[in-house]
């Protein structure tokens, strides 16, 4: 897997704060447990932006994404054939929500998604490796 720039929940949320009111889509690649990343992000978004983080998980909802919230999380914890349709063919629908989307996934799924979903890849704001806040020293973004 390509080594993308690393970030932490704290640093990423600082960036989200300037992007409010414009759509963005971040693909966050995590080696560790996605749930701990979600919990870090939720805490930082709460503190820095006083906003909630609604999160959907592909394993639970297939490809139903949260319908409200200015920042929305989607944990892609398993591959689904419907993902390409939802993220690639219909990427415009995501863009029009005016929300900031955080797609959290494993390196293997991220790679597959980037290869099979060229429209999604082209519209992503950025692909980042997200690490726990305790590993801040290694973060570059």
């Amino acid at each position: 897997m390509t080594e993308f720039a690393t970030t932490t929940a704290f640093r990423l949320v600082r960036r989200l704060a300037i992007g409010q009111d414009s759509t963005s889509m971040y693909l966050l690649v995590c080696e560790e447990d996605a749930e701990s990343v979600v919990s870090d992000l939720r805490a930082e978004i709460g503190v820095q932006m006083t906003l909630p983080l609604p999160v959907a998980r592909v394993s639970e909802t297939n490809v139903e994404f949260p319908e409200s919230g200015s920042i929305r999380g989607v944990v892609i914890d398993q591959w689904s054939p419907d993902l390409v349709a939802a993220l690639d063919t219909h990427v415009i629908r995501i863009e029009r929500t005016r929300a900031q989307f955080l797609f959290i996934t494993s390196p293997a799924i991220a790679e597959r998604l980037l290869v099979e979903a060229p429209n999604f890849r082209n519209r992503l704001t950025e692909v980042l490796q997200i690490v726990p806040d305790t590993a801040t020293e290694g973060a570059s973004c």
Partner: protein, 412 residues
């Protein structure tokens, strides 16, 4: 406390820039005059820009069908919106912008669906008085039924799900000797066409100029599916005086059968823009219009233009990522380190999924300028924008996306 104030102020520096780069709605771009319209056809500097050319054709040759083809992020939607604006110069024109993505699930699109979408939109364009006409009322109701589906109540005995185990007759198809150039319009599609034309009757009787701009089909990565819709839905409208402009996927441009050129009256291609700032100032103008000159020097602007490869969306992405990097660094301006980091990030994104076969193709293109878009690996590289198609010196040529080329060189 002082630090908090500084951070808040810096947000105010970068936020407007990000909003201009990536507005929430296309209307914002028009309202803020953020679009830099091209001055000529990208393949011929002596010809008017695509949007002017399309608008002229739609106005003068009613019923003509045109295709706009280009890679992902090349600016097809912007060009369609510019065409729509241009067509608005005549008050009696009925122009419909149909983004199929807003209407239906593109991955499960059936033949006839585009016609239904056009019919429903046309209904909005006719007067209330015309809508009261029985034939139009009926046609609209049927279209709605086709769009949403309906439930028919039948006697359970009449609705036999099991096929007859011993049918008296079986169909034996004898193929025709003369293969038609385009397959026949399916009966169901022809029925939908009749309903659409019924709704369009008042406009057609007034000799109105109707133009439908269809966006979204370019996101069908499989060109065969695009072809199906053209052969059914668009062909069904061939004889009606309704002009069509449709965005097509890039692979159709390289299709051996030259389907686009055979079928459409006019085909326009948007290649990647010349990204060398010394040869073209277009990308530079795009960034300046969005406010880049307030935040970076000419040098950084030139770097972003060069490494965007002339892909409009990559230019925007690079500017955005650079701005975010500067903000993260607590700087009030975007510096070389920030643009370099953005270029590296974009290059890495393009690096994902490159296997041995793709790397060989890319190496051959970098070293010997050899590239053939015949095999599936090469096609995939073009679709994914890892290899870009350009037009210059009267010829098409390919080049590796400069951000990817830089990343590959650095990792070698």
């Amino acid at each position: 406390m002082a630090q908090t104030t500084a951070a808040t102020d810096r947000r105010l520096i970068y936020r407007p820039f990000l909003e201009r780069l990536n507005p929430a709605s296309p209307g914002f771009l028009d309202a803020q005059d953020l679009i830099v319209p091209p001055e000529h056809d990208p393949r011929d500097p002596d010809q008017p820009p695509i949007h002017v050319s399309f608008a002229n054709t739609a106005e003068l040759s009613r019923g003509s069908q045109m295709a706009l083809v280009g890679g992902i992020g090349s600016g097809k939607t912007t060009e369609l919106r510019l065409t729509l604006q241009e067509l608005g110069r005549h008050a009696d024109a009925s122009n419909l912008y149909v983004d199929l993505d807003e209407i239906t699930d593109l991955s499960e699109l059936n033949p006839g669906a585009i016609l239904i979408a056009i019919g429903l939109r046309l209904y909005q364009k006719i007067t209330q008085e015309d809508r009261e006409t029985n034939s139009i009322k009926t046609a609209f109701a049927k279209l709605q039924e086709l769009a949403r589906g309906k439930t028919n109540w039948v006697w359970a005995g009449e609705y036999d799900l099991e096929p007859d185990p011993e049918p008296e007759m079986v169909p034996v198809r004898e193929p025709g000797r003369l293969k038609p150039k385009f397959p026949a319009t399916k009966r169901a599609v022809a029925d939908v066409r009749d309903l659409v034309l019924e709704i369009a009757t008042p406009l057609l009787q007034e000799e109105a100029q109707i133009t439908v701009l269809i966006d979204g089909l370019d996101r069908l990565i499989q060109p065969e599916r695009f072809r199906q819709f053209v052969e059914q839905d668009l062909r069904a409208l061939r004889k009606a005086k309704i002009s069509i402009i449709v965005a097509a996927p890039i692979l159709m441009w390289f299709d051996q059968s030259r389907f686009l050129q055979d079928y459409f009256d006019d085909v326009k291609h948007i290649p990647a823009v010349v990204s060398d700032p010394k040869k073209s100032g277009f990308l530079n103008q795009v960034l300046r219009r969005r406010g880049a000159a307030d935040l970076m020097t000419d040098r950084e602007i030139a770097e972003l233009c060069r490494f965007s490869g002339g892909v409009m969306r990559d230019l925007i992405t690079l500017a955005r990522t650079s701005a975010e990097a500067a903000y993260r660094d607590d700087k009030d301006r975007i510096g070389t380190a920030h643009t370099a980091s953005a270029i590296r990030q974009l290059g890495k994104r393009y690096l994902v999924g490159l296997g041995t076969a793709q790397r060989k193709i890319i190496r051959r293109l970098i070293d010997n300028e050899e590239f053939s878009i015949e095999d599936s690996a090469s096609k995939q590289l073009v679709v994914n924008r890892q290899v870009l198609e350009y037009f210059g010196g009267q010829r098409d040529f390919f080049a590796v996306h400069p951000a990817l080329a830089k990343t590959l060189a650095e990792s070698a």
